[in-house]
């Protein structure tokens, strides 16, 4: 069941980015990061950038997701310490 939710969220993020619904896409990505491993968003972002042809210049989405992954992983232990405290 958890896998199904993860897949559904990935699909929602993909369609949102492709359709230009950035608010929905960002919200879905944040939700995904809360419940699942953010690392799975990196290959998704690379694929979307490849589809859009962004690798001819700078693939902003991929770099943004990598930065988001680092940010989430930086914050996760602090939230864990805070909740345990």
């Amino acid at each position: 069941m958890k896998t199904a939710y993860a897949i559904a969220l990935c699909l929602l993020i993909t369609f949102s980015v492709l359709q230009g619904w950035l608010v929905l896409g960002v919200a879905s990505a944040v939700l995904f990061s809360l419940y699942f491993n953010t690392a799975f968003l990196i290959p998704l972002a690379i694929l979307i950038d490849g589809y859009m042809g962004s690798f001819h210049s700078v693939p902003m989405l991929s770099l943004a997701i990598v930065a988001w992954y680092g940010f989430v992983e930086y914050l996760r232990p602090r939230f864990a310490n805070y909740s345990s405290a």
């Binding site: 690379i46 700078v58 990598v66 680092g70």
Partner: protein, 304 residues
Amino acid sequence: MKVRLRHNSSRKKTTQVIIISVIVITVGMMIPKAISIVAATVMLPVHATNIWLESSSSLIPSFVRDRQSLEAEIKSLNNELIVSKSSSLTQQRMIDENNRLRHLLSVDGEARVAASVVARPDELPYDFLQIDRGSDHGIEVGSPVFVGPDIVIGLVVHTAAAYSFVEMITTAGFEATSFISGPNVVAVLEGLGGGVARVRVPQGIPLSVGNLVYLPSIEPGVFGRISRVENEPTQPEQYGYISPDIAISGLFQVSVGKLSQISHSATEIDEQVIRIMNSNLLIEPDVIDYEATSTDKEVVTDES
């Protein structure tokens, strides 16, 4: 202690993921450029050779281009030849069928008189011909003159005992009703002299080079094909010029048909019908035998 170890391993794992992602993204950014450089390097000699062959004026490219264009022309001519062969086969079949049908209907070709051309327009005024057959050979004024089996060129206008004069359809002032196949319209054909005639049709009729022109009053009466169309959009009419396939100076032998081949106009037919009607209503002044209805015939006969 455990928490610190887990925290360190988690940080290490995060760092590894970030580094690998950045490497993958960097490689992905370099791949299109690398492929385009490789492709350009590999394709450059091919592209340069192609441009040299297409646009250079040197000996070898010119030879190659000429050869390619000649091959294409040979191919298209072969196609045209195949099409014309099949057309001629169709034409021959239709001619055979026409002859067969004529034979079935007992409409055989009428006997014609062969004649040689003894004088031509360069020796005679206007577009006239002199032939070496006359009334002694069965030539009549008004008989159509043919070149080949069905191409009519003129009418006999004067006969002597041993020669005749033929007025060609192209002579200036000659007018005839013609039928143009293709647009399938009836038009007036007028001679212009010098072996040229023209048809006059209104604008909007799709007249084109190659349309056959018939003279319906003469059977069979193919005159020729339209060789030039003169169409000025500001003029109400357009003209189609017809030059017979055989030049006048090249006419050597012709055949003269019978007067019966020329059909009469509707006016002439009406006049003839009225003449017949007028003579049919005329009662001959014969003695009429009287016959009484109440008396026996034998008694009447005896008494008379």
